[in-house]
Amino acid sequence: MQRLRTILSITAIRLSIAFTVIFGIMSVLIVLYMTGSTVGILRRQIQTSINTEIADLVQIYETGGLNQFFRTIERAAAAPGANLYVVADPAGQIIAANIGDIESGVIDRDGWTRHPFKYSRLRDRGQVTYNAVARVFPLPNGMRLLIGRDLGEPERYRAVVGRSLIVSLLAMLLFGLSTWLFVGRRALKRLDMVGRSAERILSGDRHERLPVTGAGDEFDRISERLNAMLDRIERLDEGLRQVSDNIAHDLKTPLTRLRNKADAALTKPQTSSQAIYEIIADTDRIIKTFDALLMISRVESGSAAAELSPLDLSALVADFSELYEPVAEEAGFSTEIAVQPDIRIRGNRELLSQALSNLAENALKYGFEESGARELSISVSAENHNAHIVVADRGPGIAPADRERATERFARLEKSRTLPGNGLGLSLARAVTELHGGSLVLEDNLPGLRSKLVLPLAAEAKP
């Protein structure tokens, strides 16, 4: 019972039930209409044949007189399967007939009988009545003649149609029911399979996928889409787990250091302000790491996109270079700044400057070999509808295999592990460029690292 109720609640089953009911009603209507018109045609045929007979009789009467007329009727009445003939005297008393009894009053009215009337046959002795239609007309001597026809034929037809209608409706119902059972059970089985898989996924099996039978039906199609979704969720989840592991790891180290410093400061007889300054500096670094993380996720979520406004990128890069040039020189770098004027984009000055500062600081931190040249070059140029900002150094660069990973959060490459930094610089730079609809490209500077921000140029202002 429960199972039947479940089958009935399947959408496809409900729809097919509804359609079967509608189809059934329609076929009943069609059959009724068809029977109605066929019976009508049969009746009209009866009327035509009676009218023809009356016309013939009238002619016989006119040429051969009353005797000839009655003889003709007598002959016709005796023939097998004959029409109904009744003759009545002027008082309405039946004087001759080839039938037993007739519904009273039928003979008293001239013309066609309004409704089928009942009569009994001679050999049945009044036990069984039949239906007939007839036309009554007066004879010149005041007597009345009724010529009628039994309605057995149209009625038999009606009964045949009725029986076949019932049979076909029953067949339809049976066929429909068995289809529903088959389709419903199958759909239910698939649903159960999907449900079981979903349950396994819910209970923690991330690798479980919804079943795909290869039938290519709608269940397969939706399972495939859902599996693709699950794959993506698993990847994102994996990334998220990686990031939180990294956060935990990267924050635990400075926090432990912080704690140890505080501990050391406490155990000293008088706390030196040097220790406290170091503690503050360490705390600031941790806060900066959090700020950077929050900023990356805000930039990645795209909520800052509304803030893009027309921007003179050339001026931005020039300004920025002016801020960093002295720092680079102080660090022993020779600098080369190349700014192509009048490059305009839609952008956010603050975020782009932050991204540039991350790239420049990376270059200053990692962009040199022990005995090699220290060179920092910053340039901005326009190429093929894109603005290119390039920050390049002469350091060890990043191996092609590591470039993709280098822009992930906390992905600090082996060498950089020993240097201060939060491992978020390139991730933020990438997030910022992507927010601007551009991309961060890491290239070989032969030797060194070339970090390139590719940003779409602002559409030409139309006059």
Partner: protein, 224 residues
Amino acid sequence: MRILLIEDDREAAGWLLRAIGEAGHVAEHAEDGAAGAHLARTGSFDVMIVDRMLPKLDGLTMLRELRRDGNDTPALILSALGQVDDRVEGLRSGGDDYLTKPYAVSELLARIEVLARRRRTEDGETVLRVADLELDRLSRTVKRAGKHILIQPREFRLLEYLMRNAGKVVTRTMLLEQVWDYHFDPQTNVIDVHVSRLRSKIDKDFEVPLLHTVRGAGYVLREP
């Protein structure tokens, strides 16, 4: 200096009030926007510190209302939201400066001193003087002890800001915001390098230094 603190977090407020008191200022405290607006209208303050999220009347709405009524007490907005859009919105609502939590108390104190001072010495003077150092805002020249000093445009703005706030500690972040108009935190010592270049121009050849580093806070330019 009289300071109005509008902050609903009692712990943070208690701690700020103590720091303000230790710095030698007098503070009044309101715990929600409505009470804060009332105090601001009835009292006279040199500067107000307004938390952005406040019960009853949020900080920005309160500030907008005060500004509409002609109250121009300089306001420092405190907020947990630190993105550019939040800051721009804060400044548009009538804030004069914006500080993101968590902040160092030294940073907050430096900023309110500068805010209060800005109000007292609004633009007016064309020549700024600190001891024998002289900056002419019209001719854009700098002299120390009557001797011309060659200076870059950015160094000029840096010096102008330091002189305008002579005697007050300014933090690196304040310099980056006010002189360069950047609101991010560089990892390296960009500001230090610029300040030390400026210092080599105005102090190096002279006996008495004017530009000092304040450990753990920032810089101060002051009379010897």
